[in-house]
């Protein structure tokens, strides 16, 4: 009990520390130089309608590469970790999923994947992007797994998608360095007309690759977790 009291005190102190931020911080009245630059120059420089996307994929593209890497390394870790258990696999006989679930899954799965693809392909125009799209695709797989826990995926396919899309991403980045002005520069492909699908240079390509990669990775993670569950 004393321990909890102590923790509460500690957190209260920590809260005060955070709270001091409220005293000194002021809401912006106008954007500082950097975001203002992004707001004003995204369209001419990068050609993306969605400024956030421009920031994510181009200006701070290196972060995004890191993000992808994080998901990749997390997925690899999970795969490595869970694959190791060589326990004899005994069949589980879960209660079959309801008719509604299995039926709607068949209906919805393609739609969800399609929607995901739409979200990442239009990332430079509308809210959304590769991560969001990838996550949506992964929900499709989640639905699949829920409807049929015993389902077998083609690991190879997912892995291939993941690898190829990841590699392509990096290669595009290198192309940016060779053909454009720097690593991950999107402008080595023509920027096109602002607001159209084929605009903003390499952004849609990159975001699509990210979407595929994220989708494949998250699905892989889900699948691995499910497999382990099957082992239990």
């Amino acid at each position: 009990m004393y321990k909890n009291m102590f923790i509460i005190l500690l957190l209260a102190g920590f809260g005060l520390l955070l709270g001091s931020f409220l005293l000194t911080h002021h809401e912006y009245l106008s954007l500082p130089q950097l975001p203002a630059y992004y707001a004003d120059n995204t369209a001419p420089e990068v050609g993306a309608a969605n400024v956030v996307t421009a920031v994510v994929v181009t200006y701070r593209g290196f972060d995004t590469l890191g993000e992808v890497t994080i998901l990749f390394v997390a997925a690899s870790l999970i795969a490595m970790f869970l694959k190791h258990s060589k326990a004899p696999r005994h069949d589980r006989h879960p209660r079959p999923s309801s008719v509604i679930l299995s039926t709607s899954q068949k209906l919805l799965f393609p739609l969800i994947v399609l929607f995901g693809a739409y979200v990442f392909a239009n990332g430079h125009l509308t809210p959304g992007g590769g991560f969001q799209g990838g996550a949506i695709i992964a929900t499709g797989f989640l639905l699949l797994l829920m409807a049929n826990p015993q389902a077998e995926f083609k690991h190879g396919l997912l892995n291939a998608i993941e690898s190829i899309s990841g590699t392509s991403y990096v290669i595009i980045g290198i192309l940016g360095a060779i053909l454009g002005l720097g690593f991950l520069d999107n402008r080595f492909i023509s920027l096109g007309q602002l607001g159209t699908l084929f605009s903003a240079g390499a952004i849609p390509v990159i975001y699509s690759l990210i979407g595929l990669k994220v989708g494949a990775e998250l699905s892989n993670i889900l699948h691995h977790l499910n497999e382990v569950q099957n082992e239990e």
Partner: protein
């Protein structure tokens, strides 16, 4: 030139493509990984070379083609080039080292490794705060992945604790970054140097900095890291220690410009506290990996200090940090890898290494390098650091550093000693695959090369430093040769060195005297080595190191060279001692006390410039007012070597357990180093006060008590070598006393006695070695009657003890005679009497020594014992001749010695009138005494011979024995506990206060360490709380309770 960003792209493409691999292609995948890491190494390495040669300029890489702050930029300067090269080389070697693991582990692990490396590379290179965060996270997750290469419950739970901790840390970091952004409106480090000036911005700086500091595993919020070190595969531990930690510290360095100036000392102190405490706790570790973990954390703390104080250190910053960084990189990685090779956390299992001389040598190199002994970079870095800190009066800092260092030495050398002696029960020839040996060897070469450059950079004197070091190195290389050849070579090397050094020093009698003692002593003590068969692996390099270390002490006047020589001599002699069969504990004690003394001296060297500028401490004017503390530190340091009472407990063990023929070197010759130092401080500082008390007075008492104590302890020894060793303590007390009289006569006595003690003690130890060599025992009560079979040894011992006792007509009397005159002139009657008393007490053990061994009843098992080998006797008789010459013509030595003593020293000197020595008190003519005695002796001897010309020799038991005839030597030879009556009367003086005191210190520190380390409960939650608590306390420390 390939852009540094391609380190990342190469790595990532590899990582992603590995996913395509099939299980059956695993081996190929490993090779792909190898190639990739090699390519990454080449990129960063080519930048390093380019920047070093100047063909490349430091560059910023703009990602996405926008200038900062609009996009993320990576920087490649010398700093980054060094670090990324370190990371990538290390990665490459790790892949090789883990070849067998990776072959089985599956492709995911390969990806994780390469991602880990990428993460570190970018952490080093990036200039964007948020990008830094992202890649830190990558590194963290990859680390978690690496920890579970061994998937046992220990490593899994350690990994979870790590994840919890890193979640908390990254939370703190992220909130800090966000705050920072909200205050300055961008995320580039170079554009937020004014952050702390913005109102409230200090909080952001604080949060970011705290997170990074926590990430660098500072005590006491580092339980998670320790658990990880303990449970992870050694290769991973090595990665965490050798590359992760430096990368994080580099982040600290990057962020330092935005940290307010007045926080620097706080952060620095945190690092030092970590250094001191982690090393302290490491002393209690039996588990090697955890111990290495503590050590890694400690090194990290030290480096954090340097980094935090980079502004303060200014010019020397790079020198210091590189010294620590590279040593930690090579040595720690090497040690972890060796751990992997041995594949056990049990120190006793490490005996495997003894079967592999090269690996064992590297193990020693790593340990020594970690411990900060010369000639390795840490030594120089530590020296420079202490000097710099001392300039700013950072005494508390120095104390912490030195404390930490002594603990470090404690556990490192405990380990080393254990391994050195853990030879038993090992498999005949351990199978060690090449890919495990290769990285270790490469890193061993790395640290040696680094040392080479560090020494070169310092521009030492060729003659006094470089040539000796080269000779030592040469003996390491030729260690495989037979002992006989190496002995000849070393003696030749020493002779040759003497030949080339003589013209340099012939003008300076001080140097000449000590140099001759060390060189001649070195050569003569080596001669008995000819009796050894086989290769005697590992002896000659360290004998050379010891002797040349001593030689460095007699250098032309550079504090660093002196200190380096001192440490080198300590190290060399430590190994020589350790080589003895039962020497593990004594050697450890020796090392600890040596190191303690050395660190006291180091502190003194730090203080010295405040009083004397850059002058060599031996060349001061003798009128340095108010330098009492410096003097005391120096004096303590030197008196540890000369084993003043209370500080002497290491000596008997160390001297007696050393190899018998090495003992003369480590005792008779080496102990003079302490005398040299004491002589120098006494003459160069002049009288000093401490709290208003005259230090010389104090030293005089210490000397007197030491003289009595040493001799008293010697009386009750049954062990021949221990007896002689304690006698050394007594003799040193005599010298300390003489020095502290600070009069012309006193100093002369000290110098004279130094030479004399060197001669007779070396002689006695050699003679003892000869006896032990033949009888195979050191217990005197097991010997007896050896005069019949070893008459020459007997003569040597007889001459030795007559000299030691100071009986006329031999040379020892000169010392006694001067001593009385000096005491009476000085008026130190009580102390003088004590020293005199100790001289009489010496008779007891001298008698015991010679009588128990050579006289009395010959034992049955020694009936066939032969005289000691000729090579043992030869140097002894050279010494005997020297004593004889000195006895007849003491002025040969005394007159030159007197010229060494500076004029400022008060008191009268000896006046010489031909052969008559005079003071205002007394007079003495050695030649006349000698002549008279010889004439008397000859006359009486002839008289006796005439009368007993028909004397017949009788058998051993032909004695009149209470009407019985004894039939066994054991029952007739009275030796064991010979001075029982004396013990009964004065035994209370022998209460082992010193031993009790040091044992108490040891027990006490053990208890404290156990208490402190129970802080690491092993519960991940507790660890997470530690992190928050640390942050909060740090906040209070920095802000002083106010809002930043």
């Amino acid at each position: 030139m390939v852009s540094p960003v391609h380190i990342v792209s190469i790595g990532l493409i590899t990582a992603f493509l590995l996913g395509l691999g099939k299980k059956s292609q695993q081996q190929m995948l490993v090779f792909v990984l190898m190639i990739a890491t090699a390519a990454m190494t080449m990129v960063s390495g080519s930048w390093l070379i380019g920047l070093m040669t100047g063909s490349l300029k430091p560059t910023d890489v703009f990602t996405a083609g926008f200038k900062p702050p609009f996009a993320i930029n990576l920087r490649m300067t010398m700093d980054e080039a060094v670090l990324t090269t370190m990371v990538n080389v290390f990665g490459f070697l790790t892949v090789i080292y883990l070849f067998d693991v990776l072959k089985k582990a599956g492709k995911h692990l390969l990806s994780i490794i390469v991602v880990f490396l990428i993460g570190l590379n970018v952490v080093v290179m990036t200039r964007d705060l948020f990008n830094l965060f992202v890649f830190l996270e990558i590194t963290s997750i990859a680390t978690a992945g690496l920890v579970i290469i061994i998937q046992d419950s220990k490593s899994i739970s350690a990994g979870f604790k790590f994840l919890m901790a890193s979640s908390v840390i990254s939370g703190i970091l992220l909130i800090g970054i966000i705050f920072a952004y909200s205050y300055v409106g961008n995320l580039n480090i170079d554009f937020m140097t004014n952050l702390s000036m913005v109102k409230g911005g200090a909080v952001a700086v604080f949060l970011v900095m705290t997170a990074i500091i926590l990430e660098s595993k500072q005590f006491p919020a580092n339980g998670w890291a320790l658990d990880m070190y303990e449970s992870a595969h050694p290769a991973i531990g090595s990665a965490l220690s050798a590359v992760s930690a430096p990368a994080i510290l580099f982040v600290v360095y990057k962020l330092m410009p935005m940290v307010p100036e007045n926080w620097h000392p706080v952060i620095g102190l945190l690092g030092l506290i970590t250094f001191a405490f982690s090393n302290f706790l490491a002393t209690r570790q039996e588990n090697i990996r955890r111990m290495l973990g503590y050590s890694s954390v400690a090194q990290g703390g030290l480096m954090l200090t340097v980094v935090a104080m980079s502004v303060y250190f200014g010019q020397s910053f790079w020198f210091i940090i590189l010294g620590f960084l590279l040593t930690n990189f090579f040595a720690k990685a090497g040690l972890f890898w060796l751990n992997g090779i041995v594949n056990s956390d049990d120190q006793n299992k490490w005996g495997i290494l003894r079967k592999r001389p090269v690996l064992f040598f590297l193990f020693g190199v790593f340990v020594v390098a970690m411990a900060g002994l010369p000639p390795f970079p840490t030594f120089f870095a530590k020296w420079e650091m202490i000097m710099q800190l001392a300039q700013g009066n950072g005494w508390g800092w120095i104390v912490l550093i030195l404390l930490g260092s002594i603990f470090e030495i404690a556990f490192l050398f405990k380990w080393f000693g254990r391994v050195f002696h853990a030879v038993k029960d090992q498999p005949a020839e351990p199978v060690i695959p090449w890919f495990k040996e290769f990285p270790v060897m490469l890193f061993g070469a790395g640290i040696l090369a680094t040392s080479y450059y560090f020494i070169k950079y310092q521009q030492f004197d060729n003659l006094f430093v470089l040539i000796p070091l080269l000779i030592v190195a040469a003996f390491v290389v030729i260690d495989f040769l037979p002992a006989f050849i190496k002995n000849i070579l070393l003696i030749a090397a020493l002779t040759f060195y003497g030949y080339i050094i003589y013209p340099e020093i012939k003008g300076n009698i001080m140097q000449l005297v000590f140099m001759s003692v060390f060189l001649v002593g070195g050569i003569l003590t080596l001669i008995p080595g000819f009796a050894t068969k086989g290769t005697r692996a590992g002896f000659y390099p360290f004998a050379a190191m010891t002797i040349f270390g001593l030689i460095m002490l007699v250098n032309p006047g550079d504090n660093l060279t002196f200190f380096m020589g001192w440490e080198q001599m300590a190290l060399g002699s430590y190994i020589l001692i350790l080589r003895g069969k039962k020497a593990e504990r004594p050697a450890q004690q020796y090392m600890l006390f040596s190191a303690g003394g050395a660190y006291l001296m180091l502190a003194a060297f730090g203080m010295l410039p405040h009083f004397a500028g850059d002058t060599f401490f031996g060349n001061l004017s003798g009128l340095i007012p108010g330098a009492g503390v410096v003097f005391v530190l120096f004096a303590l340091g030197f008196m540890l070597k000369t084993a003043a009472i209370g500080l002497h407990i290491w000596l008997p063990g160390a001297y007696s357990e050393a190899e018998d023929d090495a003992t003369p070197l480590v005792s008779g010759v080496l102990i003079n180093a302490g005398v040299l130092g004491l002589f120098w401080i006494v003459t160069s500082f002049g009288p000093q006060q401490l709290f208003g008390y005259d230090i010389f007075q104090l030293m005089g008492w210490i000397g007197a008590i030491t003289a009595i104590g040493g001799n008293m302890l010697a009386i009750y020894e049954e062990d021949m070598k221990r007896l002689i060793a304690y006698s050394s303590v007594g003799a040193m007390g005599y010298i300390i006393f003489a020095l502290s009289m600070d009069s012309k006569l006193g100093l002369l006595i000290a110098l004279y006695y130094m030479v004399l003690h060197f001669i007779y003690k070396t002689m006695l130890f050699m003679s003892a070695a000869g006896v032990i060599y033949r009888t195979k025992t050191r217990n005197m009560y097991e010997m007896g009657g050896l005069i019949k079979s070893m008459p020459w040894s007997f003569i040597v011992v007889l001459i030795g003890i007559i000299t030691l006792a100071g009986m006329p007509p031999l040379a020892g009397f000169a010392g006694k005679w001067m001593f009385y005159n000096a005491v009476v002139m000085k008026g130190w009657y009580l102390q003088g009497t004590m020293v005199f008393f100790s001289g009489i007490v010496a008779f007891l053990y001298l008698y015991k020594l010679i009588a128990s061994v050579f006289l009395g009843q010959l034992k049955d098992n020694h009936r066939r014992v032969k005289e000691a080998p000729f090579v043992y006797l030869l140097p002894q008789f050279i010494f005997v001749i020297a004593i004889m010459v000195l006895s007849i013509f003491p002025q040969v030595l005394l007159e030159p010695l007197a010229t060494i003593i500076p004029d400022r020293v008060p008191g009268e000197a000896i006046l010489w009138d031909g052969r008559l020595a005079m003071t205002s008190f007394g007079y003495w003519n050695a030649f006349a005494v000698m002549t008279t005695v010889i004439v008397m002796f000859a006359t009486i001897f002839l008289w006796l011979t005439y009368h007993s010309r028909k004397a017949q020799k009788v058998k051993q038991f032909n004695i009149v024995f209470a009407a019985e005839r004894p039939f066994r030597p054991e029952t007739t030879h009275v030796s064991y506990n010979m001075f029982a009556g004396y013990k009964k009367a004065l035994g209370w003086l022998m209460t082992p206060l010193a031993t009790q005191f040091w044992t108490g210190i040891s027990d006490w520190s053990t208890a404290i360490a156990d208490k402190v380390r129970s802080w690491y409960t092993g519960n991940g939650q507790t660890y997470a709380m530690h992190l928050l608590l640390y942050a909060f306390v740090l906040y209070l420390l920095i802000s002083g309770g106010k809002i930043l």
